[in-house]
């Protein structure tokens, strides 16, 4: 399942790149892309564990930019 989310308060391009790399390592994620200019998170992952993966992704994002949120 592929879904697109907006990232609120994404302010740093280098962080976006680091987030992308870290999220791609979550188990079950087959594709991830963070566009700094578009502030978009595109994520493709197993449907069954999608919510859990998104939770993990949010945690990772917080790790790099504390106030950055996935808008659901």
């Amino acid at each position: 399942m592929k879904k697109v989310f907006r990232l609120e308060n994404l302010g740093c391009a280098n962080c976006a790149a680091k987030m992308e790399k870290a999220i791609s390592k979550i188990e079950g994620v087959s594709f991830v892309s963070i566009g700094f200019m578009t502030r978009r998170l595109t994520i493709e992952a197993d449907e069954s564990s999608f919510d859990m993966i998104l939770e993990k992704a949010q945690k990772i994002i917080k790790k790099f930019e504390n106030d950055c949120k996935i808008v659901r």
Partner: protein
């Protein structure tokens, strides 16, 4: 363009101004009147005063540094910036205690002030380019007026389902794709296709969403849900484009992962190794602090994707929809452009020029119309149109790609198609080779006559081909049409390399040949109308369809969609791609060069942290401004 500052930027600006108000007089007082030196605890007063400035300008950086380190993320730029600036403070206290002056406090503050100014510029510039692109795509309708139970209701376009009727008044945007059921009006599609002449539409005509209804109210029967409508497809295509990252972008993210750790490691070496050999620890530590300031690869990480973002955005503005950054890169390297003939180099609007033998014209057209009546091929349409009368029914037709059509009914057989079709059935006929497209007609194995059809060359085709050639691109034409008409078209647009009489699968084979041959160092583009060349569009490195707005299959199969049916768009697309890639490369080389230069100079003690902070945010701002130049490509 006026830019409203975001809340974050406003408070940042306020902090920059207030810290400067304290910092500048403090700096003057410190440098000219030497506040605090000479006495043993003389460093305390400047330290406190500067630290006030430091907190005003840098409390968010400090906070983020603490949070990120708590998250076990020590190579965070905020953290490194804090180490550098606090390091400068510590060194100043150290020398102050020794009574050797208080150099360093002002530097720690200045680095953060410049850092914040740089961040502010970055934020403004990024927002500005985001908006310049967003405004281009102002084609999305906000509402639809749908008729439900006899009442007109304004609802979101998403809420309208197929088969419902919507009303569009003059001046409104058409919200959904459909067919006009009542009303006659001019429709302006310029925001989608760049076509400036409005089209007069009446009941029975199809309309696409995103166009503007100009003159009078029309009622439209909706044929597609909003998510499948032309507007949604275009927006989706442009928005998804940035997901497909170019090789340059992927390289940069990889590079960035190595850059920071390497620079930080060098900083540590510079602080430790010479100190052990030569002593004078504070000098070497001070020099290594400059390393930390330039340790963020931000300038490159931000400006390269931004260049591609601008490239895609400016392309969309020119009615060139690119499906991903990687296609910008490939288009830049494209060395061969392969054109389909019909509908691409020519208008695809066929016209029957003559029928031989003339005395049998009605009979020939009548038979041909029977065979061609179910076909949507433009040649077939032109024949049916020329015949202009009720077509006999009761025939079953069989279409053979590349040959023609056979129509049968109770032992009656009409063959209608190319010379090859006649040959295949052993029918003798005179070969026509004056450059027109010839459709041969045979009835019950008896040759009846031939219809000659012509197709006009598109405006701008010749200019486009010659400009592409000037750019060093090889142009090739492939067509299913006969040698003679192919030659005629090829000559008049200036293509010397062409292949005729190709079946659709042969076109794929030819393109593969080019990809393995000349195209090895470059890429092969296939340019078609997207209607019957989907396999080649998909097989080539870059499939470009043109003028096929509203055809899902064409948009699906191609990598670049030219919504404007104009070959000169190709030249523009190539020029934008070239400019984008050039600027992206500059955005890697220039910041890197400056950063390395600063690292070397800092090692030698020639520059200080003032210069280093320029190497960080200053370079980032420069690179961003450079990316914005893409907007000016003509």
């Amino acid at each position: 363009m006026k830019i409203e500052l975001s809340k974050k930027d406003k408070s940042r600006l306020l902090r920059i101004i207030s810290s400067l108000i304290i910092f500048v007089p403090l700096l003057i007082a410190d440098k000219i009147f030497d506040i605090g030196v000479q006495t043993e605890i003389g460093w305390v007063l400047p330290c406190i005063l500067y630290f006030v400035v430091y907190i005003i300008i840098g409390y968010d950086v400090l906070y983020k540094a603490v949070v990120n380190v708590a998250h076990l993320n020590p190579l965070d730029e905020n953290f490194l910036m804090c180490i550098a600036t606090l390091g400068a403070f510590t060194l100043a206290i150290y020398t102050g205690v020794k009574g050797e002056g208080t150099e360093g406090f002002e530097e720690g503050c200045a680095v953060l002030i410049f850092y914040q100014i740089g961040e502010l510029f970055q934020s403004i510039a990024t927002e500005r380019s985001r908006r310049s692109i967003a405004s281009l795509m102002d084609i999305c309708p906000d509402y639809a007026n749908v008729i439900r139970n006899g009442i007109v209701e304004a609802v979101l376009p998403e809420e309208v389902s197929i088969g419902e009727t919507i009303v569009v008044k003059a001046g409104e945007k058409i919200p959904l794709d459909g067919e006009i059921i009542s009303g006659v009006s001019s429709v302006d599609s310029s925001s989608l296709t760049g076509e400036s002449v409005p089209v007069e539409l009446s009941p029975g005509d199809k309309v696409i969403s995103g166009c503007i209804n100009l003159t009078s109210t029309i009622e439209i029967k909706v044929e597609k849900e909003f998510t499948d409508s032309t507007v949604s497809k275009i927006l989706e295509l442009v928005e998804n484009a940035s997901d497909k990252k170019s090789k340059t972008e992927s390289f940069i993210t990889k590079f960035a992962r190595w850059y920071t750790p390497v620079v930080v490691a060098l900083a540590i070496c510079l602080a430790v190794v010479p100190t052990l050999i030569f002593g004078n620890g504070e000098i070497w530590i001070y020099r290594s602090l400059s390393f930390l300031v330039v340790s963020c690869p931000c300038a490159i990480v931000i400006s390269v994707p931004m260049a591609f973002f601008m490239g895609i955005g400016i392309s969309s503005k020119s009615f060139i929809l690119v499906k991903g950054s990687d296609y910008i890169e490939k288009l830049d390297k494209a060395s061969t452009f392969v054109f389909d003939k019909t509908g691409t180099l020519t208008t695809g609007e066929f016209r029957v020029v003559s029928v031989y033998p003339e005395e049998k014209e009605q009979e020939i057209l009548r038979l041909a119309a029977i065979a061609e009546t179910d076909s949507i091929h433009p040649i077939a349409r032109s024949i049916v149109k020329k015949y202009g009368q009720q077509v006999d029914t009761g025939y079953t037709t069989e279409s053979m790609a590349g040959y023609g059509i056979i129509a049968r009914s109770n032992g009656d057989e009409i063959l209608c198609g190319s010379y090859k079709l006649m040959e295949k059935h052993g029918i003798e006929c005179p070969l026509q080779n004056d450059g027109h497209t010839a459709v041969y007609v045979a009835h019950n194995s008896q040759y009846i006559g031939v219809i000659l059809i012509t197709d006009e060359i598109k405006k701008g085709a010749k200019e486009a081909v010659s400009e592409l050639k000037n750019m060093g691109v090889k142009c090739v034409m492939l067509t299913g049409d006969r040698e003679q008409s192919a030659k005629k078209v090829a000559e008049s647009v200036g293509i010397s390399d062409y292949k005729a009489s190709l079946l659709p699968q042969n076109k794929v084979y030819e393109v593969e040949g080019l990809m393995n041959g000349d195209g090895k160092d470059g890429y092969v583009c296939f340019v078609g109308d997207g209607i019957n060349d989907a396999p080649v569009l998909m097989r080539s490195d870059i499939g470009i369809s043109m003028g096929a707005l509203g055809s899902d299959a064409a948009i699906e199969a191609s990598n670049i969609v030219l919504t404007r049916d104009d070959l000169t768009s190709l030249v523009k697309a190539k020029a934008i791609a070239r400019g984008t890639v050039r600027i992206a490369k500059q955005n890697i080389i220039i910041p890197l060069f400056i950063k390395i230069a600063i690292l070397i100079l800092a090692t030698l003690g020639i520059t200080n942290m003032w210069m280093a902070v320029f190497g960080d945010v200053g370079v980032a701002v420069l690179a961003i401004l450079n990316s914005m130049r893409i907007g000016r490509i003509k």
